[in-house]
């Protein structure tokens, strides 16, 4: 095993590329009234009085506080407002120095589509969609928006997708990895069909209704919570495959964001092994589960995994598939990946092109 940690002298020369794609940037509201211009009076008043009806113990805070304030980079606070709310700072700290030419917004403002009052959630989602365009995409044409939808209201979700389908400023449908039931279940199918029909990938970002996070109860620590995000992603992948979503919708692309990716190698092998013996339970599947993993699932690389031998990352990415992986920064969260220094392996120019641009071009149908 290597004895030394490579210093960040080893950099990925991304300037040789014609800009990079970043599939996970978090815009933020200027303040708690930031969405009000996009909401009707009914919902403004409702929010002021009832707030959002969430799933966890605290009226306003997070059950699992990050180890930095609001789980954000300590150096990303603008003079006023929260990190991610100041476009000028985002440009200065990230878009410009890193030559980001295409950035996908992942809004995690309010509970969005994760609250219990579905009428409120619908109002919030459509407001967030309008807000992304007005305050980020319009002034900054390197950015693109996600269509936030309410998974538990398929009718409204489909309507929202259809409303935005012809607007090229939206590049994906956003669903959190935490849903009421695994996403392969019937109630969500119309949403997935609509996304596939309109060529939208589904961006599945950590968050939403994660419930107890584990099948043996609630974690105590943020140190646990951070690991358990990967469980939700795996649950969704298994359900999407085994419940036949990809058999029905072979063109649907699902991007697993901020949940890691190297676990997918073992997951595919384990599922194939089980399917060899119990495939009769999922008779609709015409192919082994790993087939769908390689056909339909994509991964953002952040937070990049750090094997003991950094060069292993090449081998791991090879096993996952260089065509499956897309760089993400997760700006401005604490576990941000700098595109120059996050990848400690020597990556070939051909693979860099895929990781930093070509895969995103294909998946999001841009550039």
């Amino acid at each position: 095993m290597n004895e030394t940690i490579p210093s960040p002298k080893h950099s990925v020369h991304t300037t040789s590329l014609v800009g990079i794609a970043d599939c996970d940037i978090h815009p933020e509201l200027k303040d708690r009234y930031g969405l009000h211009p996009y909401l009707s009076k009914r919902w403004r008043d409702h929010l002021d009085q009832y707030g959002e009806l969430g799933f966890e113990a605290l009226a306003g805070g997070y059950l699992y506080d990050g180890y930095t304030p609001l789980a954000l980079r300590r150096d990303a606070w603008p003079g006023e407002g929260l990190p991610g709310s100041d476009l000028a700072l985002m440009r200065k700290q990230h878009l410009d120095p890193n030559n980001v030419v295409f950035g996908v917004l992942e809004p995690m403002v309010t509970l969005g589509n994760g609250g219990r009052n579905l009428d409120l959630s619908n109002a919030l989602c459509t407001a967030i969609n309008d807000w992304q365009i007005a305050e980020f995409v319009e002034p900054e044409d390197r950015l693109r928006a996600s269509v936030m939808v309410v998974p538990d209201d398929a009718v409204s979700a489909v309507a929202e997708i259809e409303k935005r389908a012809m607007d090229a400023r939206f590049v994906q449908v956003q669903i959190f990895t935490g849903t009421t039931e695994p996403l392969g279940h019937r109630r969500y199918r119309p949403i997935l069909e609509a996304a596939a029909h309109h060529g939208f990938p589904i961006g599945m970002h950590v968050g939403g209704r994660l419930g107890s996070r584990t099948a043996s109860g609630w974690p105590s620590y943020y140190s646990e919570f951070h690991l358990y995000n990967a469980f939700a992603a795996q649950t969704q992948i298994m359900s999407l495959i085994l419940d036949g979503v990809f058999e029905q919708l072979p063109s649907l692309k699902v991007i697993i964001i901020e949940s890691g990716c190297t676990w997918s190698i073992g997951l595919g092998e384990r599922l194939d092994m089980l399917w060899q013996r119990m495939g009769s339970e999922v008779a609709n599947l015409k192919h082994p589960p790993s087939h769908y993993l390689h056909q339909n699932i994509y991964f953002s690389t952040q937070p990049v995994e750090e094997p003991d031998n950094p060069e292993e990352l090449n081998d791991l990415f090879e096993q996952i598939g260089w065509d499956r992986l897309m760089y993400a920064s997760d700006y401005p969260h604490w576990d941000y990946d700098d595109p120059r220094y996050a990848f400690k392996a020597r990556i070939s120019e051909e693979h860099k092109a895929l990781l930093f641009r070509e895969n995103a071009k294909k998946v999001y149908r841009i550039l």
């Binding site: 095993m1 180890y67 849903t179 009421t180 039931e181 695994p182 392969g184 279940h185 994660l210 419930g211 107890s212 996070r213 584990t214 099948a215 043996s216 109860g217 609630w218 974690p219 105590s220 620590y221 943020y222 140190s223 646990e224 951070h226 690991l227 358990y228 990967a230 469980f231 939700a232 795996q234 649950t235 298994m238 359900s239 085994l242 419940d243 890691g260 190297t262 676990w263 190698i265 073992g266 997951l267 092998e269 384990r270 599922l271 092994m273 089980l274 399917w275 013996r277 119990m278 009769s280 339970e281 999922v282 937070p303 995994e305 750090e306 094997p307 003991d308 292993e312 081998d315 604490w334």
Partner: protein
């Protein structure tokens, strides 16, 4: 080239409780009356319905018989076939999942008595795990103390899915009792179903996904044990992850270590990297070997694990995890065979060295 395996220590086989009738004689008068008068139903685990393909390899299945009930079959199909010098019995029955803690404790105790009488007494190659009810940790500790004097009991058995994460101090009486007697804690695949099998987000629609999701449960438990300080609090205790799979472990080690570097101050009693803790304190049985059997990949897995001491030979008989006569997955380097089949189990289970 296939060669007859040298003698092995099989760290995971499953003698099956035929039904409550087999346990009732070992219960006290009150519980006997309860079980009989209420005709309390048999308690096979939903994690292992006897009829699903995984529960029994087809060529081991006897028509009209629950898998694992026959000692004769176990001898022929496993102990003799695999050339077991020793095999550790991990009974999987409903004591551990019962809604009532008191019933759970009674059924677990009866299971342990049944195992000792019907299996350990009858077959000198067998050893047993003490099954305990995590619902009532103090009763579980009493059961550990009761069974510990029988040196054929070599481990304390818990299921992977409980009412809380296993690192929580609620369970510490169990760890204290086990550590006192030098018994490792075995955490075995399976769940109490108190939470959806999906990792908390509603229920998967297939048994296949339920079973595949076991790795998520083990990862959660391992992180809980680490962050709650169980390794610090019980410095002499070893944990064995049984039927947990193995392909998930390297990614887990990297992730847990990465988080520790940045969030260490939240759990300052974790004084060294999670990877180092796992290498030292945690062991894994090899079946199901849920990853590539290519020899190059197997070597890579061992390298990623960072230790040759972590793997324990197992067949998981009669669960269907492999085909053929050798539970040792192809692709394992020959140099590790002796370690995995003998040395590692002997070091992990100190009682195996004692004559009984």
């Amino acid at each position: 080239m296939h060669h007859k395996p040298t003698s092995v220590i099989d760290c995971d086989i499953h003698p099956a409780v035929p039904g409550n009738d087999a346990l009732i004689p070992y219960m006290d008068e009150y519980w006997q009356e309860q079980f009989v008068s209420r005709a309390i139903g048999d308690m096979d685990l939903a994690s292992y319905p006897p009829s699903v393909p995984l529960s029994c390899r087809p060529d081991w299945r006897q028509v009209g018989e629950k898998p694992g009930v026959s000692l004769a079959s176990c001898r022929e199909q496993a102990l003799d076939k695999f050339n077991c010098e020793i095999a550790i019995c991990n009974p999987l029955y409903g004591g551990q999942v019962a809604a009532s803690g008191l019933m759970a404790a009674e059924v677990c105790s009866a299971t342990n008595k049944w195992l000792a009488r019907e299996w350990l007494d009858a077959e000198p190659r067998l050893r047993g795990s003490i099954v305990v009810a995590s619902q009532l940790p103090d009763r579980a500790a009493e059961e550990i103390h009761r069974c510990a004097s029988d040196k054929r009991f070599v481990q304390v058995l818990l299921l992977a899915g409980n009412e809380m994460l296993l690192g929580r101090s609620h369970f510490w009486p169990i760890y204290e009792a086990a550590e006192k007697h030098g018994l490792p804690i075995g955490i075995h695949a399976g769940t109490m179903y108190r939470y959806p099998t999906s990792s908390g987000m509603g229920w998967p629609s297939t048994y296949l996904q339920d079973y595949a999701s076991g790795t998520l449960l083990f990862a959660a438990q391992l992180q809980s044990l680490i962050t709650e300080g169980v390794f610090a609090k019980f410095p002499d205790l070893t944990f064995v992850m049984i039927e947990a799979g193995i392909s998930w472990v390297p990614s887990f080690m990297w992730k847990s270590t990465k988080v520790w570097f940045g969030v260490r101050g939240e759990v300052p009693w974790v004084k060294r990297s999670p990877a180092a803790e796992i290498r030292d304190r945690v062991r894994f049985t090899i079946q199901p070997f849920d990853t590539s059997k290519d020899p190059v990949r197997v070597e890579k897995l061992i390298e990623h694990l960072g230790s040759e001491d972590m793997l324990l030979f197992s067949s998981d008989y009669p669960h269907w995890q492999f085909d053929g006569d050798d539970p040792m997955p192809p692709g394992f380097p020959v140099r590790l065979r002796q370690k995995i089949t003998q040395e590692n189990p002997l070091r992990t289970y100190p009682r195996l060295k004692e004559t009984v």
